[in-house]
Amino acid sequence: MTWKWESQRKQYGRALVELGKERNDIVVLDADLSSSTRTADFASAFPERFFNCGVAEQNMIDTAAGLAASGKTVFASTFAVFGTGRCYDQIRQSVAYPKLNIKIVASHAGITVGGDGASHQIIEDLALMRVLPNMSVIVPVDSNETYKAVKTVASNKNPVYVRIGRADVPTVTDKDSPFDLDKASIMRTGDDVTLIGCGIMVSKCLEAAEELAKHGIDARVINLHTIKPLDEKIIVKAARETGAVVTAEEHSVMMGMGSAVAMCLVENFHVPMKRVGIPDVFGESGGCDELMERYGLTMENIVEAAHDVLKRKK
């Protein structure tokens, strides 16, 4: 399959500027990475409503809390590795616990950061964010969905974590395809096996489905853009109708999207399941494709997992 590759960050910047025009209560914070996260677009359009906190993520999050407590809708951005782990206590105490209107939109998540290496490749941010009460967790699949997700979360008053990548990603949705936080999207119908992906791995699931089709296997593909709250209905229905599930994520398999799906299925409907994702190890420097291959995040890995669950399916 050939994809059009586009930047999620660019759409984040665009959505922020639009929001800034539409609403006076939108305030944006960054921690010295605004040209990378693209909050710089907002900064140049609305300099008085942009605050660069310098290399001080903890300070950024608590400052965001004060702004949100004063009625602002706050977007706070930096790289995902710094925007979650480095200020975890601040997010816990001052965002999630008081349920403040703060959207942490973190870029450069996952292993596709590439050359920067393990220090910058956060593969545990979904785990950190999904265990926090009151926190929603979203992984937009592509540039179109990033735009829609940012516009959507701005309209609620809750804490939200939005994870986007550094690299351009395959565009798998249309500008006008619907986006609903409460509903995962079915990208392809099929009744033999379900492939559930998030982020860049959705495109790999679609490629895997094409490959499986060559062997007469009809795979359903779900874009699970919202990890929390989890669309349990669509997951259980897919498990019931296809009898086998594979998840695929650019995140540690220890406690990411696949784990959320596994927990849902173990309590609701047992089917053979396999999680494709980064094993319990740190990444390293390399090119995106090389890293995806080294850490088991290819279309072939998904196909192999699908054959495995199909074998176990009664």
């Binding site: 001080a56 400052t63 809390a65 004060g66 949100a68 407590a69 009625g71 601040q90 616990y97």
Partner: protein, 279 residues
């Protein structure tokens, strides 16, 4: 001037005495809590809520109100006692501190307690949160002011200094920080655990206007706060020299009462010393 009026000050002093008694009783009844750091901050809180701050207990969400953040969240008993005395909720509710179902959590929770502006407890967050409120005030062209109390133990926290930089970078002259300089942190004297001096010079170097006062003198607290109000273009830090456990002889300067409730006998003595035997 009103602030030097003897009768007015002694009125505030008697409120402070009541607040101290409430705080000790709350901790005694809860069986746990932090008397030392609650009692050292009482006079600052009383000056704020009974004279300096523009607020309305009947309308805790009044948009024009001044904001207060207790960064040293473990001083919650003192804050709750002041809020109750001011009329945010009944004094009788104070005895529910730390109990199941209570609106008065062990550390302040803005979603549970009327009058609490920010959830705190994990140290070093409060000044940054106060800065956020101050930025919002500037954006909205509002005149409300932000008052923050930090413990001196919080001077160990890196984020305190990140926030110090941000406040002076953005010229947040609507922020007033009180540093409850009781010179003791959980493990011992601050200068032994992690030396802070010269503390005033540090804040000056960060671009703040600095005032040092006796943090138990209501007159000095009021005077310094009014001075802070007149300073334009930079925030003010008021280093309040205080005594941990102030008002109860055996708690004063005692490490033991950083985070421990008094025994029955100790409680009786405290009430006697605070002159409220009926408590």
């Amino acid at each position: 001037m009103e602030i030097y009026d003897g009768e007015f000050i002694s009125e505030l002093e008697s409120i402070a005495r009541r607040v101290r008694a409430h705080a000790v009783k709350m901790i005694y009844q809860a069986g746990s809590g932090h008397p030392g750091g609650s009692l050292s901050a009482v006079d600052i809180l009383v000056a704020l809520y009974f004279h300096l701050m523009k607020h309305d207990p009947k309308r805790p969400d009044w948009p024009e109100r001044d904001r207060f953040v207790l960064s040293k969240g473990h001083g919650a008993p003192a804050l709750y006692a002041v809020l109750a005395e001011a009329g945010y909720f009944p004094v009788d509710e104070l005895w529910s501190l730390r109990k199941m179902g209570s609106r008065l959590q062990g550390h302040p929770c803005m979603r549970k307690t009327p009058g609490v502006e920010m959830s705190t407890g994990s140290l070093g967050h409060g000044l940054a949160a106060g800065n956020g409120m101050a930025l919002a005030a500037k954006l909205d062209r509002k005149l409300y002011r932000i008052f923050v109390i930090c413990g001196d133990g919080e001077m160990d926290v890196g984020e305190t200094w990140e926030a110090a930089m941000l406040a002076s970078h953005h010229k947040l002259d609507n922020v007033t920080l009180y540093i409850d300089r009781n010179k003791l942190q959980l493990d011992g004297p601050t200068e032994k655990i992690m030396s802070l001096e010269p503390l005033g010079d540090k804040w000056k170097a960060f671009g703040w206007h600095v005032i040092e006062i006796n943090g138990h003198s209501l007159k000095e607290i009021i005077k310094a706060t009014n001075e802070a109000r007149s300073i334009k273009g930079r925030p003010t830090a008021i280093i309040c020299h205080t005594i941990k456990g102030k008002g109860v002889s055996y708690m004063e300067g005692s490490l033991h009462f950083h985070g421990k409730a008094p025994s029955d006998e100790e409680y009786r003595q405290a009430m006697e010393e605070l002159g409220v035997s009926e408590e």
